[in-house]
Symmetry: C2
Subunit: 339 residues, 2 copies
């Protein structure tokens, strides 16, 4: 069967954020087994912040991600296992280890302006004969011309696919359309889209991306992902069936995985809350949320004011230290008499 | 301040479904008070199935809707109170009573092929000097030409505004665009859009509707509505701010109503579940869900198979009796040896 769009299920990587990185081997086995039966082409497995993410800073995994990857590979027959690596967090050694365990696809992720740091890892992945994705995060932060330039770098390093990644859920449909269209015109490789639902347009954006030429799409079952979660996979399959776009995924089976395997694991359903909305509105990185919330509580300011300020300052991952400074500054300004 | 789009908040009507029609006077007072402060132009209050909906068939209201309307009117200073009436469920007497209590806007709702039954109630509303909306439900069930014909009827009866109502959350963005565009071209009155989120495109559809010319938009705070809920109001306000489309609604205040007044009332957060997705996919009326679920349990068949079948048969509200027949038939076919 010809497939117009190939889906990557990210609940076992991006969704790791939603369960505070507490996935167990048994959960991964069960979910992969069912995703495999539903004929999902790719299943991504890693810590939420990619290989090597388990740490005090990003949150410790309950189970070593290599054990989870091993379990996923063992349970997949139709599906291929993918993993994510952010250079600086994950190393070449992590990637080699993942490859030895049977991971088929490497997704090398950088901030949208830092494609150059992906060169070595993309090279290595290609050397190890992996299907290789360049993953341009926070794609809303730069104009399309800059995005195209960075995507071309990843293509030049050997990436088979380049993704537009709306990490903060900050893009609107017309912006996604413009970006994907430009990449389709300027690049020779396949283009992908990874959406977040902070502004409730993950699905709207994904439809636009596909119409504009994206052929690789990320989804997460029951929206299990950072922030307000991702494009909801089982819903996407239904939408694409209605649009006559083939994915090869069994709609009823994927709906069942969502209802019976994934929903029960969620500590709470994925909603668009005040904070996740502010995050999408402000256009800031998902990993800022927890820090912003803590700082807001400590200095008695509003979490969303911190997020909006971070967006204005175009803060990026790694600049978490700014958050406390911003909160302190706000607290001072809100209480000018309070020394 | 010029407003490009006027929002009607439907959580206290459509959201009545999500709380099994158990709204209390105190809840309505609190929510209206806060929506009013956030400067929401219209707030709809009624039983989920409109005036007179409280019944064994549609679910009994905890508090008489006229009491709720009275409370809403008392607490609104900036906002105008709207109500919904489905001819056949609500009567002229209900509408007169609502008007006497100070309701400003009458929304007269019919199935998309039955605009003719709205004539008397639209006439009455206009006679009583109410702002009057014709509300064409299940708009996905007919081609655009038929929708235009029905909308013109409502316009001819005196409706100030005609709404495209995606009751089942079954429309996709290109379909919304086509419908709104045609109505804008063929009618002289304002056009509105009411979305449901069963296919996760309520926001995507709403953006398309506005771009195509809709100037009246329904939203529900925290998605509080039938099925998978509606276009999430507080998110919509953020999206429209980003698009430079003015609504007059205070974004931070509406986010706070969602977080502090509405979220705590929800028996469970609005998610897109297997059933609500099947409902949107099948294109069937929200009120079928509970009946289908009961029948599915009784006859040991799949709720979503019943919904898909109802969609194929183009079943409409009032045909709930078909559900048991369908379930029985399916049970027979699935167990051919079982007499």
């Amino acid at each position: 069967m010809k497939k117009d769009v190939l889906i990557t299920e990210v609940a076992l990587r991006d969704g790791s954020h939603a369960v505070s990185h507490q996935f167990t081997i048994n959960q991964v086995e069960t979910i992969v087994e069912h995703l495999d039966k539903a004929n999902v082409p790719y299943i991504e497995v890693a810590h939420g912040d990619g290989l090597g993410g388990s740490s005090l800073q990003y949150g410790r995994s309950k189970v070593d991600e290599m054990k989870l990857i091993e379990a996923a590979v063992a349970k997949s027959h139709n599906s291929k296992i993918a993993t994510l690596l952010l250079p600086g967090i994950g190393t070449k050694k992590h990637l080699q280890q993942a490859r030895e365990l049977g991971v088929h696809m490497a997704r090398v992720a950088t901030h949208v302006t830092e494609a150059d740091v992906s060169a070595q890892h993309i090279n290595l992945a290609k050397e190890m004969d992996m299907e290789t994705v360049g993953f341009l995060m926070m794609a809303h932060m730069v104009p399309t011309t800059k995005l195209v330039e960075q995507a071309k770098l990843m293509e030049s390093y050997g990436a088979d696919i380049v993704y537009v990644v709306d990490s903060a859920g900050a893009l609107l449909p017309h912006q996604v359309k413009e970006r994907i269209k430009a990449l389709k015109e300027e690049l020779g490789v396949e283009i992908g889209f990874h959406g977040h639902n902070n502004l409730s347009v993950a699905m709207g954006n994904t439809i636009e991306a596909i119409h504009a030429g994206a052929s690789r799409i990320d989804g997460s079952i029951r929206c299990l992902g950072a922030g307000a979660g991702n494009t909801q996979t089982e819903v996407l399959i239904g939408v694409l069936e209605k649009l006559g776009i083939s994915t090869g995924v069994d709609m009823y089976k994927i709906m069942d995985v969502a209802e019976y395997q994934v929903a029960p694991l969620l500590p709470k359903p994925q909603e668009i809350t005040k904070d996740s909305l502010a995050m999408g509105y402000a256009g800031v990185y998902s990993s800022f949320l927890l820090h912003a919330r803590r700082a807001a509580e400590k200095y008695n300011v509003d979490t969303r004011d911190i997020l909006v300020k971070l967006g204005e300052l175009k803060a990026v991952g790694g600049q978490e230290d700014m958050i406390v400074d911003i909160a302190q500054e706000m607290a001072k300004n809100e209480n000018p008499m309070h020394i």
